[in-house]
């Protein structure tokens, strides 16, 4: 799918107290710029795409510039003439203002300006599907797309393809070839600009979900399936000042839906079938357990394969261990790395950094199980807001259950600090409870 581009490079204008800076909006496929006028749908679909891209680019610029971050007041986004006339601009501005408040903690005003030409491939298709299922090549969306294929009469798997993101793309292509295609699941991709480096890209969820909205309207689908597990969707902060992912946060879902309904004048829904499940529970209910290991979960996509020590890999490993499903190979074994080892693929940081991060996760899980009220309200605000205490209690059990499983294999292989914390936790959490949890998850099988 080649979604862009307009007659001239379109500009994102960021206005601060003192001045204004403007940035070219990216053209992911470097398409030739040709004036083109088409139906209302393609114009507004292009506008929706460009608005989501603009927010993603805004995040990039705020990330890169302290000055912009400190002083940003207003942002102006280009819209086609058609869109400028037809979209409820005040409502769109309000939605984006809420997104900025939550994600950037900034009260930014959003405005729009019209432009002339555009070229887009966002046309209404003759084929119809009941649902669009977002597919990233990760374990959650892999389980979700296969499940959705049984739940709905017809689905299309949609991948949002970031420029220069070769590793995840290889996984996506491989899974499409080996699983989706043989299962008869159609696959599409929409190109977007490259990922924002250094930490989580917080606005990518808005980009993915609005792209899914465009795809849904093109294929007359009424549902977007977002198959992320609940523990990622509602991920709490383990530290007071930690940044957590907003990719599938309910606020982002709501904002995406508002934009989709406003721009495309349609009534779609986003469904999140796994919002009350942990990863282990999702994996256990997977239809193709043997293929699960061929998915990609690592936060770093610079190297081939899952590195093993980031948060994404850690919770993936917990999920695989507890569900008893064969996992992929990792570059590093999080549970056994030595504190003084150098992790070259993580910028040569020492093993103890990753071990300490895992100990912090263990501590959070310990509090979840033994003294929930003692957890700082800032850390547990998402859990409280969305009433997900039981979900996270199961997640906490999974975390200690995975260590319980490992300790039954070869305790000498576990990092001594992790082992000490695990042994200490056993003074408060019974092994019977952990065994019961493992049995429960492994018996959840759906096949």
């Amino acid at each position: 799918m080649r979604p862009s581009i307009s007659t001239l490079p379109l500009k994102l204008r960021i206005i601060t107290d003192a001045n204004e800076e403007s940035f070219d909006l990216p053209n992911p496929q470097q398409l030739p710029i040709t004036p083109h006028y088409d139906s209302d749908l393609s114009a507004r679909a292009f506008d929706l795409y460009l608005t989501a891209v603009a927010i993603h680019e805004l995040e990039r610029h705020l990330h890169n510039s302290v000055n912009l971050r400190k002083h940003v007041k207003k942002v102006i986004i280009p819209l086609t003439n058609e869109g400028y006339r037809q979209i409820d601009l005040a409502a769109a501005s309000n939605t984006l203002n809420n997104v900025a408040l939550t994600i950037f903690s900034k009260n930014i005003q959003f405005d729009f300006e019209p432009h002339g030409g555009y070229q887009t491939d966002f046309y209404q298709e003759n084929a119809e599907y009941e649902a669009v299922c977002l597919f990233s090549g990760g374990a959650d969306s892999f389980v979700g797309v296969l499940d959705a294929n049984e739940q709905y009469n017809s689905i299309v798997a949609l991948n949002i393809k970031h420029a220069r993101s070769t590793t995840p793309q290889k996984y996506v292509e491989c899974l499409n070839r080996n699983v989706l295609n043989p299962e008869g699941i159609p696959f599409n991709a929409i190109d977007v600009s490259n990922q924002i480096g250094k930490g989580y890209s917080q606005t990518r969820g808005l980009l993915y979900q609005t792209c899914a909205g465009i795809e849904a309207v093109r294929y007359s689908a009424k549902t977007i399936v977002l198959s992320e597990c609940g523990t990622t969707m509602y991920q709490p902060s383990f530290g007071i000042f930690d940044r957590v992912t907003y990719t599938s946060d309910p606020m982002v879902q709501k904002a995406s839906l508002r934009l989709i309904r406003n721009y495309l004048d349609c009534n779609l829904t986003i469904t999140t079938p796994y919002e009350n499940n942990t990863k282990s529970e999702m994996f256990s209910s997977s239809k193709r357990k043997n293929e699960l290991r061929n998915t990609f979960s690592c936060i770093s996509s610079r190297f081939r394969g899952n590195l093993g020590c980031c948060y994404g890999c850690a919770i993936r490993r917990i999920g695989f261990l507890v569900s008893g499903i064969e996992d992929s190979q990792y570059h590093y074994d999080l549970f056994s790395i030595a504190d003084d080892s150098r992790l070259h693929r993580y910028g040569r940081i020492k093993g103890n950094v990753r071990i300490t991060e895992f100990l912090e996760l263990m501590r959070f899980c310990f509090d979840l199980l033994t003294d929930y009220e003692s957890i700082d309200p800032v850390k547990r605000k998402r859990i409280d807001h969305y009433h997900k205490q039981d979900l996270f209690r199961r997640f906490a059990l999974d975390t200690f259950a995975s260590l319980h499983i490992l300790s039954n294999y070869d305790i000498t292989k576990i990092n001594p600090r992790i082992n000490a914390a695990y042994r200490d936790a056993l003074n408060y959490i019974s092994e019977d409870e952990l065994n019961a949890r493992i049995d429960y998850v492994r018996n959840m099988t759906n096949s």
Binding site: V66, R69, K70, H71, N94, N97, N98, L101, T102, S105, K106, N107, G239, I240, F241, M251, N352, V353, T356, L359, E360, R363, F366, D371, S374, D376, P377, V378, K381, H385, Y386, R417, A420, A421, D424, A425, N427, Y428
Partner: protein, 237 residues
Amino acid sequence: MPVLGDGASVKDGLKSLQTKITDGKYNDAVSVAARVIAVSEPGTRSLFLSLRLAKVGYQLYSVAEKEYNETGDYRSALAHALIKETLHEFTESDPSLVEEGVKICWDRLKDEMGISIAHEEIDDLVVNSIVNVLNNASGVKGFDYGSFLEDACENGIKMLFDAEVGSKENKDALLGRSYQEQKEFEKMLKGASGELAKEIVSRIMNDKESKEDMPEKITKSILEQVLNEAIDKYTSS
């Protein structure tokens, strides 16, 4: 940690805190933690800014309290107060309404004061210190200005302590202790946050100028004074 800054005194203090935690000398560790805030310019400034925003927060609370006294529904009363104050189109049922509303108030206050903050952690500390008070004030009758400031200040100090303990070295040291010790130390820090906040706010309320206008210089001087006095108090206990 940007919220503490990276001055030499702060670095030395954090190193000393690490030693105290590693040695299990928790009373001394609390004292060192207070000293780190006292010598941290961004730390004391964050506390001062929390107190300034608490003034706005208390006005919001007062408006909400009036409606709450009539309806008995604090959440709804608070939502209405925030919508009225910020003129923002919030959905009343939005679970993060209080946080978003306080962020708007904070943005406005920064404009009024002519300041800008480069580090998100400072914004987070200031906003969260007020959000927590507003969220927890549910059903509290007769929550006065002093109590509101005290709770906001306690939250701010607690978060600064968290920032200290959350620094790389100290996190290593604390997570290396047993869960029981970790929790005991955290309880001590929480207790100290409350005591320090009480003393700070009592001095602010006893000084007419501080109470009404809360000038930065005087308020920060009170903060530093109380934090420095605390150093002896916790070491000797």
